[in-house]
Amino acid sequence: MSVLEGWEAVIGIEVHVELLTQSKMFCGCKVGFGDEPNMNVCPTCLGLPGALPVPNRTAIEWISKIGMALNCEISETSVFHRKNYFYADLPKNYQISQFDIPVCHDGFLDVAVDGDTVRIGIERAHQEEDTGKSLHMGEGGRIHAATETLLDFNRSGVPLVEIVSKPDIRTAAQARAYAQELRNVILELDVSDAKLEEGSMRFDANISVRQEGAPEFGTKVEIKNMNSFRSLERAVAYEIERQVDEITSGGTVIQETRHWDEEAGVTHGMRTKEGSSDYRYFTEPDLVPIVIDATWQAEIRQSLPELPAERRARYADLGLDPHLAGVLAGADADLRAVFDHAVDAGADAKAAAIWITGEVTAWLRREDTAPGDSPLTGEWLAALVAMVSDSKVSASAAKDVLDGVMRGEGAPEAVAEGRDLIQISDAGAIAAAVDEVLAANPDAVERYQAGEQKVVGFLVGQVMRATQGKAEPKLVNELLREKLS
């Protein structure tokens, strides 16, 4: 990366999120993915003559929630505009969107990158409608060789929120972290399934480079077609290097839209039409202004869940290190609830977190069970943690106990007894077993006394075998050394 030394990238990201409301943004058609083509259409979302839009109240509440979660100001009054451009999958040949007064503006999102927190500004989040889908048919499915295009308007009119970051992002890693954190927030709000592969969350990146310390921005290039976090990171890294290369080799960066080619790992310039940027925005005369007054705002704010950043901070306060807090914060909501209840029931937070993110998650995955279907409660997890710390069961037996709990055998104590996993911590009982083992292995005793310390391990193993693993290893160790010396 030496070629990048002395250069700085300026990156802004535009994210489109489809809201998973029941019905579309401006009509009562179903919001669904994977239905037969053109089944969820009506005069409004098909742009039939005479049809009119009426906005979905829930969508307006949800974009407000998104704005609040992103620390945005919510406009008391905002309006819809028409964005005019002709395209086959845009039925009215204008998109109802927002222009100078979006619902949300001027927020930020704190993002953790390599252990540091970076604050990325949010320029705005506005409400609009999605387009239909075009299928380009023809030779090998390649767009430039298409012989015709098939149109499906099921997606037309699905509520779409566009979230525009400020140009505060400086690296590909930050770009990825921002997009991931934003997705976490959206999922937490439960307003979208935010599936990258199905396109219910999509991002474009605006990238320019400049010499470090330069006061002005370089020429901006827009990158499209990044369908995963990894491709976003790769595309941004590639584009930064391409632009620096271009400039240092005496060329200039031109303002354009480029397409990320995942397979080749490069960006290509896209064919663009002349004058396409003249969208002739004007206030949508079929709609009236949206007024979200203080009362309505308060109601919406009340419905906000705990957000990932808040949760991480709460976990850190419980004593979890940032990594564990981050992993747990990203865990399934049912599992986090078990954790929270376990802590309430007095469990050591770190131990409970390790159980949840480790063995419990692994068990569920192994057994292909949904977290919500497991019988594990916070109280039981707290009991399990206590059994280990009180040496009632060994660490390895504890996994057996969990298995029993998960299989519905009852509370941890009952499972441990039922499966005969309670440790023997009675010194007398262990001493008897130790004596037996020492008597049966005279050569080992001899070797120990000749200075071969590590033979203790073998003897401990023998005692554990004799007790079917139930003897508390620490006690066994102590008794053995005592008797051998």
Binding site: P43, L46, G47, L48, P49, G50, A51, L52, P53, V54, P55, R82, N84, F86, A88, P91, K92, N93, Y94, T149, L151, K273, S277, D278, R280, Y281, F282, P285, D286, L287, V288
Partner: protein, 489 residues
């Protein structure tokens, strides 16, 4: 004189008493249309079978003494820019030739649910853009008072069928005067309601912030009756009025004693025909004599209203008509790419006036010109609203001629867009303000052509507007009917 010459109120009484049936009434109207259409070309589509079936159902309800209301069994025509499920709806454009909508407009639903008999779809200037009904892809409509003259527009077909008796009432749409001006030129009553009183759902949009559906009738009483039937909150129209709707018929017959009537000073003088001015001034004298306080009022911004209108309406239309692209319905002219197909279909499908306004609106909204044209026009609109508000502090209604002139000869203005635009000088301000207005016939000029008198009121001022309109009608005693080639005499 046949049943086709009855007013809605008279016919409703006849149906209610059992004196006649809707089948007889509808037949009389369809027979009239069969005679007049050869001359007028006012209908684009006649739904003879649908009308007779609806009439028969109405008769069954009347026989059970269970009619759906005063409109049950009354033959009503619709301007062809209102969607009718399964019945061709073209907005007089080639681009929609053969188009059958999969749904009914809200006004159509409302009329059907009240038992009205829909006779058919009437001619208009393409997409309601024009003042003469000459801009129809399917041929011009003639004025029943003189077939060589225009009926006005854009709802010329609806005005003509009501004048000729080939419907007892009709619906039109008014964006800059498209109900009131043809009503004036055809000698019938035409009314544009307050913006938002009548749902626009299913009305093929011209300029969304100005369009409003309203009734054509032969009397003011019928007008209020038909408005009562079509007005009401519609959850499918976000601009629909959500408050309480008055009963529009109630104010009629209470006279104008004590009402303050403002005469708009700017709507007189140059460009206004002397016969029109004389008829209006005589009406003002009579209103004054009957107890109204008639005063002259200045609304200075009305002069700029026409300019603002010819920026705002085309701007909105340029977006509203973008959906006609040859993909989901309507005309398609083939092309190698979607873009080429769209551009060819649109060039082929839209007539010259529509093309002109799309270009004008596209230009007025485009980068670099928005502020000087569209943005400024919106400010002028706000200024006009403020001017009106000030005027209505002094008077209850404003009055003027509806049109500066009576029906003109076909072809007279069709080559000069600016001259045509001046037809709507008196009507446009109400659309920009969102206010109601009505045109009432008050007499004939020396050529025997009708003259219309306009009454305007503030938003939701329909009751006082109808109160004055009814008195104008009483004082005018206008009972002339067109002698259309001898068939309607």
């Amino acid at each position: 004189m046949t049943a086709a010459d009855l007013t809605i109120t008279q016919a409703a009484a006849g149906l209610a008493s059992g004196e006649m049936t809707s089948t007889q009434l509808t037949e009389a109207v369809l027979d009239r249309a069969a005679m007049t259409e050869a001359v007028l070309h006012a209908y684009l589509t006649m739904d003879r079978d649908g009308a007779m079936a609806a009439a028969a159902e109405s008769d069954r309800r009347h026989a059970r003494k269970d009619p759906l209301g005063p409109l049950d069994g009354i033959p009503i025509a619709l301007k062809d820019n209102m969607c009718t499920h399964g019945v061709e709806t073209t907005a007089s454009s080639k681009i929609l030739a053969g188009y059958r909508p999969p749904y009914d407009a809200t006004v159509v639903e409302r009329l059907r649910s009240q038992g009205a008999v829909i006779t058919g779809k009437t001619n208009l200037d393409e997409f309601a853009m024009g003042s003469s009904t000459e801009n129809s892809a399917y041929g011009a409509t003639s004025n029943p008072w003189d077939p060589d003259r225009v009926p006005g527009g854009s709802s010329g077909g609806s005005a003509a069928v009501v004048a000729a008796g080939s419907a007892l009432g009709a619906l039109g749409s008014d964006t800059g005067g498209s109900i009131r001006q043809p009503a004036a030129l055809c000698g019938v009553v035409g009314m544009k309601p307050t913006y938002g009183l009548v749902s626009r759902f299913g009305l093929i949009a011209f300029a969304s912030s100005l369009d409003q559906i309203g009734p054509f009738t032969r009397t003011v009483t019928d007008s209020a009756l038909l408005l009562d039937a079509i007005a009401g909150f519609d959850p499918r129209d976000a601009t629909s009025f959500r408050g309480e709707y008055p009963n529009f018929s109630d104010a009629i017959g209470r006279g104008v004693q004590g009402l303050r009537i403002g005469v708009v000073k700017e709507f007189s003088g140059e460009g206004f025909e002397p016969a029109v001015e004389a008829a209006c001034s005589s009406m003002l004298d009579r209103l004054s004599a009957t107890g109204a306080d008639v005063v002259e009022v200045s609304v200075p911004t009305v002069d700029a209203a026409l300019s603002a209108y010819y920026l705002i309406a085309p701007a909105e239309c340029s977006a509203n008509l973008a959906r006609f692209d040859g993909i989901r319905y309507g005309l398609r002219v083939s092309g190698a790419t979607t873009e080429e197909m769209m551009a060819r279909s649109r060039a082929e499908g839209f007539g010259p006036e529509v093309t002109r306004r799309i270009l004008l609106g596209t230009y007025a909204l485009s980068a670099g010109y928005y502020d000087a044209f569209y943005g400024k026009a919106l400010e002028v609109r706000a200024l006009l609203q403020a001017d009106f508000a000030a005027a209505y502090e002094k008077v209850d209604v404003l009055v003027s001629p509806t049109s500066p002139f009576t029906a003109f000869k076909m072809g007279d203005k069709s080559q000069d867009p600016l001259a045509m635009y001046l037809c709507d000088i008196c009507t446009i301000p109400s659309n920009l303000a969102g206010h109601p207005g009505i045109s009432i016939p008050i007499g004939l000029d020396e050529s025997g052509l009708p003259i219309g008198f306009q009454v305007m009121a503030p938003a939701l001022g329909e009751p006082v507007m109808y109160r004055v309109a009814a008195e104008v009608e009483r004082l005018a005693t206008f009972d002339a009917r067109p002698e259309l080639a001898g068939v309607t005499a």
